[in-house]
């Protein structure tokens, strides 16, 4: 159970407070309701590049990191296809420094040319390090445009290509800031050794003077129902053949979301899971096999991926994956199997409460979903899922005509 208080400032900024007196630390987490899905298809990777620029100094404070480190704080941020999330942890007695820094960069950035030039380079190196210079690193750059044809999920957070980042201009940066970085598009969570009334006073002092800005109204083209099997083959300098199959699944707020999460657990969570035991241990077709969900806010993906044992044919490997998926469609999972994955989810949720930062991030994310208290209703939602639900969604999901398959082959197999 993660308790919280909640209030909204006059400019529309939502604030949640989680009091936890067991720690001497505090967390200030700000989620901006903007991700890669909100980008112009010709300027992809921008939400993430922008996240880097948020550390390049703000209108009244030339350096973001230095004053924070000086009071014993640390910070970081991440960008996904859906959101951009910034967080600070620091000794609770220095909490006001976090308010000072975060409010100034919500007010306005310094928009320094030097920072833009440097961060274009840094992000280009990040693109190379994580996506281009790694075996299988570009899988998602290939799989997304295969699975999505209309929706902005068809590109990855890092962007479609290096040139989009290299060509970003200060005009783009300013427009993006104005459109997305205002109090109405943000959710702030303050947690740790803090009191709600103190947080309220600090929020009113530092954040309330920031102009509300215009509310960004999202209106993204949604993906049409997929009606044909899609296949793509790539060859690369990798040592092993691999296969990635992506199926369409519903959006995050769909009531079946929890059933999909448990379905992926039955198939692939840990060494008691089905794919691990059948495909890796018994049939020895794969040296690595996984199933997971993308957990995106709009309609997402259910992915099965594996690396083949040398000498195994792609045809045989693929057939074996489908045989396991067919089983999910034709038979209900046993009571023991369902209880097992539910118990696991329950303990994951209890253990996640060990981390103050995780609690703060979760509150912000669930508030974005509509109500932070959904976080506390997660366990109940998982427990409600039945074996029949899992069979039903398996039938709705695992069909060739809604699948996108990427064969990733070694050069010897080309």
């Amino acid at each position: 159970m993660v308790d919280f208080n909640r209030f909204t400032l006059a400019n529309g900024l939502k604030v949640l407070v989680h009091e936890d007196a067991t720690t001497p630390m505090a967390v200030l987490n700000i989620l901006y309701d903007v991700g890669a899905r909100d980008e112009d298809p010709e300027k992809t990777g921008f939400a993430h590049l922008f996240e880097h620029l948020m550390f390049g100094g703000s209108v009244n404070i030339p350096s973001y990191d230095e004053p924070l480190q000086r009071v014993g704080g640390e910070n970081n941020a991440f960008t996904s296809n859906d959101i951009t999330n910034y967080y600070i942890t620091l000794p609770a007695e220095n909490l006001e420094t976090a308010f000072w820094l975060e409010s100034d960069r919500m007010l306005s950035l310094a928009f320094s040319e030097k920072s833009l030039e440097t961060q274009r380079n840094v992000v280009s190196e990040e693109f190379k390090q994580r996506y281009l210079n790694q075996p299988y690193g570009d899988v998602w750059l290939k799989l997304r445009p295969l699975a999505y044809k209309k929706h902005a999920y068809r590109w990855a957070t890092i962007g479609k290509e290096l040139s989009h980042i290299e060509n970003a201009t200060m005009v783009d940066v300013k427009a993006f800031f104005k459109k997305h970085y205002n109090p109405q598009n943000a959710i702030m969570v303050v947690g740790g050794n803090v009191k709600t009334e103190d947080v309220k006073a600090l929020a009113e002092k530092w954040f309330e003077p920031i102009p509300a800005g215009d509310k960004y109204l999202r209106n993204l083209p949604q993906e049409e129902v997929q009606t044909e099997a899609r296949v793509e083959t790539v060859t690369a300098n990798v040592p092993l053949n691999a296969i990635y199959i992506a199926f369409k699944m519903p959006e995050r707020l769909n009531p079946d979301f929890y059933a999909f999460d448990l379905l992926s657990d039955v198939l692939s969570r840990g060494q008691s899971s089905r794919l691990y035991n059948s495909l890796l241990k018994e049939q020895q077709l794969f040296s690595d096999i996984n199933a997971y969900i993308s957990s995106s806010l709009d309609a997402g993906l259910f992915i099965v991926e594996g690396k083949l044992v040398e000498g195994v044919s792609m045809e045989e490997a693929e057939k074996a994956i489908w045989a396991e998926l067919e089983k999910m469609k034709n038979e209900v999972v046993t009571e023991a199997e369902l209880t097992k994955v539910k118990n696991k989810v329950e303990s994951v949720l209890v253990f996640s409460e060990m981390s103050l930062l995780d609690k703060a991030m979760n509150l912000a994310y669930y508030e974005l979903l509509g109500d932070a208290d959904l976080l506390n209703q997660e366990t109940a939602a998982f427990l409600k899922v039945t074996a029949e639900d899992i069979k039903r969604i398996s039938n709705e999901t695992f069909t060739h005509n809604s699948s996108s398959t990427l064969y990733y082959l070694t050069q010897e197999n080309a």
Partner: protein, 423 residues
């Protein structure tokens, strides 16, 4: 009127409280250290075994035993072990590190009585079935092939081997080592290493008297001792060495530079950690400020000091654009020379003091982190005074002392420099 240019007042962290470990012993004399917190109904139990009887002819013994520990006992198959642990929502992990192998159980308190006997079965009765071993070897060889395509992984392997040679710290594992793994060797190593006289148990969380009694009943008996001999290594500083492996297709080069240094047991360790923080140990460090934030050569660069049982080492590591590799190297060496030749300003030093104290406070996030702090000192033969001295050093060390440490420990004359990619 709000003055946004004026930073709010702040305080340096004054006190840091540690939840201290309490020692008790099982009937068979296995030490149990409890780090208690009653806030959540959960517990983490770590069974920590020293790595023993190092044999260069069988460098994978300890690694394979750790990885295959849950692959079957006389009573349970691998699948049954996983199913039973998972059924109770517990987490069972094995980990091999250079000095120790550990088995960790995370569980809600209510399930401890059910899962503890399974863990005991695994720790005292593992069988390493041949068919499981065959699968392990096949899949590990495949994973190794993938890893050997990563420049970063290659640079770590080359660097470790250059510093530590054919010891457990440096041995270069290749596919043929996997082919040579024999079931009998694993069984023999398991009997030696996973014995009560080679075990330390760390219990953190809501671990109360009745939990201890349960642990004592399960692990305090019916568990055979062994004649294991802890690994012991010694190293001498190498001559300067440059290792370059060209990868014609690389668009980034992995760089790893460093040398032997001191470990936690040495009185200069805290001072060297402060020096390292200034150079490359945090986001605002000199290496980050110069090579990422000013030049944009890399996504990240850092330095560190690693403390092993029989050695310590200093390293700088990064992945940089292949076209700027030579420039990046020049800047790295420039920063090392600078920290040796010029005093750190009071302003920078004060920032680093405050940052490190805040970071120490923040690293004690929950009871598990307190247990981790205890392990750091206990296995280095130190006590909680270590942390008081550390905090005192962070607060008071002078720029002159740091400059002296830089000259003593960071002379580049005998650096090992590894570059994988292009330069």
């Amino acid at each position: 009127m709000l003055n946004r240019q004026q930073a709010p007042d702040f305080k340096q962290v004054s006190t840091i409280n540690f939840i201290q470990a309490e020692e008790s012993k099982l009937r068979n004399n296995t030490p149990v250290f409890t780090i208690y917190s009653g806030e959540q109904d959960l517990v983490r139990l770590e069974f920590i075994f020293s790595n023993v009887n190092w044999d260069l002819q069988k460098p994978l013994q300890a690694i394979a035993v750790s990885a295959m520990l849950n692959s079957g006992t006389a009573k349970r198959t691998a699948k049954e072990i996983a199913e039973q642990i998972d059924f109770y929502g517990a987490f069972f992990q094995t980990e091999y590190l250079q000095d120790q192998s550990s088995v960790t159980l995370y569980t809600l308190n209510k399930h401890l009585p059910a899962v503890l006997p399974i863990v005991k079965d695994v720790i005292s009765n593992s069988q390493f079935p041949q068919h499981e071993l065959d699968i392990y070897i096949q899949n590990q060889k495949q994973k190794l092939q993938v890893n050997l395509k990563k420049n970063d992984v290659l640079s770590r392997k080359e660097f470790a081997h250059a510093l530590f040679g054919d010891t457990a710290y440096g041995v270069d594992i290749r596919a043929e080592h996997y082919d040579a793994v024999k079931r009998d060797d694993l069984v023999a190593y398991f009997k030696l290493a996973y014995a009560p006289n080679n075990c330390t148990i760390i219990a953190s969380g809501k671990f109360e008297k009745e939990s201890f009694e349960l642990l004592n009943d399960v692990f305090g008996q019916d568990w055979e001792s062994s004649a294991a001999v802890k690994n012991k290594f010694s190293f001498v500083q190498k001559q300067k060495e440059a290792i370059y492996k060209e990868k014609p297709e690389a668009i980034q080069s992995a760089i790893r530079i460093g040398k032997l240094a001191i470990n936690r047991k040495h009185e200069d360790f805290a001072g060297l950690q402060i020096l390292n923080t200034v150079l490359g140990g945090y986001f605002g460090s000199r290496l980050m400020a110069n090579i990422r934030e000013d030049k944009g050569y890399t996504y990240g660069i850092g330095s560190g000091i690693s403390s092993l049982h029989d050695a310590g080492y200093f390293f700088i590591a990064t992945e940089v654009g292949a076209d700027v590799c030579a420039d990046a190297l020049k800047e790295i060496y420039k920063e090392v020379e600078l920290i040796k030749n010029e005093l750190i300003s009071e302003e920078e030093l004060n920032l680093v003091r405050n940052y490190m104290l805040g970071s120490m406070l923040g690293s004690l996030e929950n009871v598990f982190s307190h247990a981790d702090k205890f392990k750091n000192i206990y296995f280095a033969g130190l006590d909680y005074d270590y942390y008081q001295r550390y905090i005192q050093t962070v607060k008071t060390i002078s720029a002159e002392e740091l400059k002296q440490l830089a000259n003593q420990y960071l002379s580049t004359d005998d650096f090992t420099e590894v570059i994988i990619g292009k330069k």
